[in-house]
Amino acid sequence: MDKHSFLIQGPITPDLIASCYVRLAHKTDAGAHNSFAGQVRADKMDGHAVTAIDYSVYEPMAHSVFSQIREAALQQFGLQEVIILHSIGKVKAGEIGLFVLVASKHRKPTFDAIRFVVEEIKAKVPVFGKEILSNHHFVWKKNRT
């Protein structure tokens, strides 16, 4: 996996998440890791549950916005590393579609940095999601502010 690739086809698997922690093992100046995982929720709409979200993305713009968010977090919180992975394509209910991992010398900046990175992603990255329902209809997802 390229160090600065942010988009993953399909769900972010437990193996992929484990590999992110492995990437931090050589950052021996870091003493704290913190992470966030966004899971697809089986919301009910008119009695039909969401079975998956099909994500699409404006890829070149998403890449540059992810990079800007990562750079801003590294500088603002004095972090050792920020890893961001977002799914494209289909992610089923119960699977992970966003994973953020930050590493810092000490624990405190990691809590603020995680919130910053996740909120920035939700607000600024051009990702679009089609929620697929159990009756095969779909609804376009919109982030809450």
């Binding site: 966004g38 979200i53 994500y55 699409s56 404006y58 070149p60 713009m61 540059s64 977002h86 579609g97 966003l98 996740v118 992603i121 939700k122 607000a123 600024k124 990255v125 051009p126 990702v127 679009f128 999601g129 089609k130 376009w140 997802k141 919109k142 982030n143």
Partner: protein, 79 residues
């Protein structure tokens, strides 16, 4: 002048196109473009969307240039 248009998510679905080109008068603003787009694809009038010009979010008052790439972006749904 010629500009490239990219459509995403619900906007692409309603316009039934993901990419096309359009000829505009020189010095046209994004607002002029939007009016022409809503004539070409009337379904857009019912939708919420923002514009990015050359991969940066842009206001309706900006003037477009030859070969600009304009993306129509429905509400974001990342995470």
């Amino acid at each position: 002048m010629r500009i490239q248009l990219l459509y995403f998510g619900r906007v692409a679905e309603v316009a039934a196109v993901s990419e096309e080109y359009m000829e505009l008068m020189p010095d046209s603003t994004l607002d002029h473009l939007n009016q022409q787009l809503q004539t070409r694809h009337p379904g857009l009038k019912t939708l919420q969307y923002h514009f990015a010009v050359n991969e940066t979010m842009a206001k309706h008052t900006i003037r477009l240039k030859e070969n600009d790439c304009v993306a129509l972006l429905p509400p974001f749904a990342g995470g």
